[in-house]
């Protein structure tokens, strides 16, 4: 019996809304992300009609920073997911196809990679490399997140390779490239969708966390993580500087996780 995942529709709408707002952020933002309105009179203002999310200690409009930062945060997460999915699919499908020793080696490599705490690896990498641009930062997040995908893809590819319909296509004389594209990949898509949403839900807080620590997106460029930086020590007095970016992260990750669960449930139900 399949248990429906409640609230999937709301999660999809929420996720789509967050993504749309993030993409359109720069056009929606009433001010520039780094525009200092008035360093003396306009600094650290609580939310008001003119500044719904308030202003920060440098008198910048928090709403505008959240909107600009959202585009960067989600963009980094999306690129990281693409990298993680590509690497994971490559490792997983090659392991499944080759089998034997190659399979064992690739999977033990995956296990080894999983044994290192991801945040620690990222901290070391960033510390070793010095300041990073957003693009390289995204690649690094992706390069440390392919393992789960590799496992899922390997398992699913093994299952698909043994199915009757793949055998049927071989008997028909379908050449390998078409076999992969037409008969294997469509069966793999639900798995990739599940792996992708899970990876996304993991990448967003990673980016935010590292940027918050000052190791990811560098100020003054805004991201959801580094908007909070500096405000955390005065979270009671300047609550709006912490609350709104945090809320954005929570909502995005929550929606992504609900969607991921639904995709996984559907995937299992179909097998």
């Amino acid at each position: 019996m399949r248990h429906p995942v409640r609230g999937t529709t709301s999660a999809v709408i929420l996720f789509a809304a967050v993504t749309a707002v993030a993409v359109a952020g720069p056009w929606l933002a009433p001010h520039g992300p780094n525009t200092q309105l008035d360093p003396i009179a306009m600094a650290s203002l609580p939310p008001s009609l003119a500044h719904p999310f308030g202003t920060d200690t440098f008198s910048r409009d928090v709403l505008s920073r959240v909107l600009h930062g959202g585009r960067l945060s989600l963009g980094i997460a999306a690129l990281a997911v693409t990298v993680a999915l590509s690497l994971g699919t490559l490792v997983g499908s090659v392991a499944a196809r080759l089998g034997g020793i190659a399979d064992t080696l690739l999977m033990r490599l995956t296990d080894a990679a999983l044994a290192f705490p991801r945040i620690l690896v990222l901290l070391l990498l960033v510390a070793a490399s010095g300041p990073l641009d957003a693009f390289t930062f995204a690649l690094l997040i992706g390069a440390t997140g392919w393992m789960t995908t590799a496992r899922l893809v390997r398992q699913e590819t093994q299952r698909l390779l043994a199915t009757e319909h793949l055998r049927g296509a071989r008997v028909l004389g379908v050449p390998w490239p078409s076999l992969l594209r037409r008969h294997l990949l469509p069966g793999l898509l639900p798995t990739l969708a599940a792996a992708g949403t899970i990876a996304f839900a993991a990448a967003v807080p990673l980016e935010a966390g590292l940027s918050f620590l000052g190791l990811g997106v560098r100020p003054p460029q805004a991201s959801w993580g580094n908007i909070i930086t500096g405000a955390e020590s005065q979270v009671v007095r300047h609550w709006w500087m912490v609350l709104f970016p945090t809320l954005c992260i929570v909502v995005t990750v929550f929606a992504a996780n609900v969607i991921a669960e639904r995709i996984s449930t559907d995937r299992r139900a179909r097998q």
Binding site: L172, G173, P175, G187
Partner: protein, 608 residues
């Protein structure tokens, strides 16, 4: 007259609500006396399984009972009971055997514990005593070494043995009524006869009434006193089994009966179209071996526990030779696990051969690689057992059929689509089928689509691997007729693999009988059916249900199961199960060669 053990009145089941409401069962009446048996037959989709589930109060979500429905068990209306009260009766008073035993058994629990559990849950016996009774029951259902078997898990048993386990658990508590839903459909005829005999024997002991659900009139005719025919959710015919079989009145019964009559009378297929030249396919001393390794997760290795071997070699196909002429149809029969499918897969180059040779139209099939192999694939195509699994679920039927044309450069784009549509039409499928996906079709339609796909490359040989095993009897007839028509019209050769001797007798001109990887008899179909030489073939033939209860007692029942191909018996591989009266030491020592007895009739037996 006995009081009825089960009385069903006005049973109705509907699915969906509002405009989507469909009636699955309507106004069904049935009464079953203690110790009696009734058969329920109908085509797929007639509502047979829904009835079984409704009686057990196990209807899936979305199906609703008609409020007027009554199911009285020993005077108590089951439908009015609270869930807890029903649970007490389920298993204890009314039990069910399903078609697919693996889904009905708990995979993570030893079978002895599963049986003991039901005794404990129903408070019949406890602890040691429950275990003892479970072991005793396993012995009763003919499981060898019951005490050791009780500690094994469902996946370690073969299909026939699993069905015995399910019967053991259903009859353990001595229920008043047993509902058996297609209990033998997935089994070979020989195992089917064993399992049905077992149910009869146990029922005679416990006085359990039987409701046997089946799509096969012959099985029900042999085993049941009464016969009900279900069509579109209604009982369209109800009477003593022999009368209904002798003079079917309702159209649905006639359809089922017609499919049956044609299956039982062996119509010899037309002589091969052209056996003048060289044969199209020649298989010489072909062997296929698999290496099994428990560490790799090959659990079909025999034995369990510490003494079980870690590795072994299965001789799936052992030095098999035969040939097929152009336009000829050769049948390949035998029990599950005899190597039929491995042989087919070797011919299709899906598994490597370990020895021997396969020549197709003079070309060495086993030596072909790459592009040469792809060109050969075009000429040898497969009609699979289960088209539902062998058609890629994400692709449309049109694209699947067109693919064969495209990958071999026969046609492309629009032209390929048009020719695919023509092929589907030739298979009697409506035009809309081209744009739907496999799961939207019925099993019969899918099978036709799979045949269209196989034909798309313009093959000369069709390897049909149990092509009609997944469809009901009337559809089976249509598909067989269609394959035979295609053979004649297109001059196709067929390698027709089946455990259904009726189907084989209808469509082939020669038959090879396989046992443990070897061909033990090969003869023209009509001659093999009339005068089988091998005791094994005789047993296979006698296991085919005929609808006549008298045939049950005349049946040659093979004891035991097909031995493992890992350790085939020395001498004649069949000798441990052979019922032949003259069986002697020679059978146990020397392997009989396949030699010609009459013209074209080969058999491997020392005593015939």
């Amino acid at each position: 007259m006995n009081k009825p053990a089960l009385r069903v009145r006005d049973l109705g089941v509907t699915a969906g609500t509002g405009a989507d409401r469909r009636v699955l069962l309507e106004g069904l009446n049935l009464s079953l006396e203690r110790g009696s048996s009734a058969g329920l037959v109908g085509s797929s989709g007639a509502g047979k399984s829904t009835l079984g589930l409704a009686l057990m109060r196990l209807l899936p979500e979305g199906l609703a009972l008609d409020p007027r429905s009554q199911v009285e068990l020993d005077g108590v209306d089951l439908l009015a009971l609270r869930d807890g009260e029903m649970r007490e009766r389920r298993g204890r008073r009314i039990a069910m055997v399903f078609q697919e035993p693996l889904q009905a058994l708990n995979p993570s629990m030893a079978v002895g514990d599963q049986l003991a559990e039901s005794l404990i849950v129903h408070g019949i016996s406890l602890g040691r005593e429950a275990e003892e009774r479970a072991v005793e029951m396993l012995g009763k259902v003919g499981i060898a070494g019951a005490r050791a078997a009780a500690r094994r898990y469902p996946h370690e048993f073969s299909g026939g043995m699993r069905q015995r386990l399910l019967i053991a658990s259903a009859l353990l508590l001595g229920p008043d009524v047993l509902v058996a839903d297609e209990p033998t459909t997935a089994l070979d005829p020989t195992v089917q006869a064993q399992v049905l005999d077992l149910i009869d024997a146990l029922r005679a002991e416990t006085g359990t009434a039987l409701l046997l659900i089946s799509h096969d009139l012959d099985i029900v005719g042999e085993r049941c006193e009464r016969l009900l025919v279900l069509d579109g959710g209604r009982v369209v015919e109800d009477g003593p089994a022999c009368e209904v079989l002798a003079s079917p009145r309702a159209p649905a019964t006639r359809t089922l009966s017609a499919a049956r009559a044609k299956l039982a009378t062996a119509v010899p297929a037309a002589a091969p179209a052209g056996d003048d030249g060289a044969p199209l396919l020649t298989v010489r001393e072909l062997s296929v071996r698999y290496a099994l390794d428990r560490r790799r997760g090959d659990f079909q290795l025999p034995g369990a526990g510490a003494r079980a071997p870690e590795r072994a070699v299965v001789h799936a196909v052992d030095s098999v030779s035969f040939s097929i002429a152009r336009g000829e149809s050769l049948g390949l029969v035998g029990e599950s696990g005899c190597g039929k499918t491995s042989l087919a897969h070797a011919v299709l180059r899906l598994v490597p051969a370990s020895g021997g040779g396969i020549h197709f139209d003079g070309v060495d099939l086993l030596a072909s690689r790459g592009e040469a192999l792809r060109r050969l694939r075009r000429r040898v195509q497969l009609v699979p057992q289960d088209a539902g699994a062998s058609l890629t679920p994400q692709m449309t039927i049109g694209a699947l059929v067109a693919e064969g044309l495209e990958v071999h450069g026969i046609a492309t784009g629009k032209d390929a689509r048009r020719r695919a549509a023509a092929l589907l039409e030739e298979m009697g499928l409506p035009a809309r089928v081209a744009s739907v996906r496999p799961r939207e079709l019925s099993a019969g339609e899918r099978q036709r689509a799979a045949i269209a796909r196989a034909l798309s490359t313009g093959p000369e040989l069709l390897v049909c691997d149990e092509p009609v095993a997944s469809v009901d009897a009337p559809t089976r007839m249509l598909l067989l007729d269609m394959l035979d028509r295609l053979r004649i019209e297109r001059g196709l050769s067929l390698l027709f693999i089946s455990h259904d001797l009726g189907a084989v007798s209808r469509i082939t001109s020669r038959v090879a009988v396989m046992y443990l990887g070897r061909i033990v008899e090969l003869a023209p179909t009509a001659r093999l059916m009339a005068q089988p030489r091998m005791p094994y073939t005789q047993a296979l033939l006698s296991a085919v249900p005929t609808g006549d209860p008298a045939a049950v007692s005349r049946r040659i029942v093979l004891r035991g199961e097909l031995p493992s191909a890992v350790n085939p018996p020395a001498g004649c591989p069949f000798h441990p199960r052979c019922p032949h009266p003259l069986k002697d030491a020679q059978c146990a020592e020397g392997r009989p060669p396949l030699t010609e007895r009459d013209s074209g009739h080969l058999a491997a037996c020392w005593k015939q």
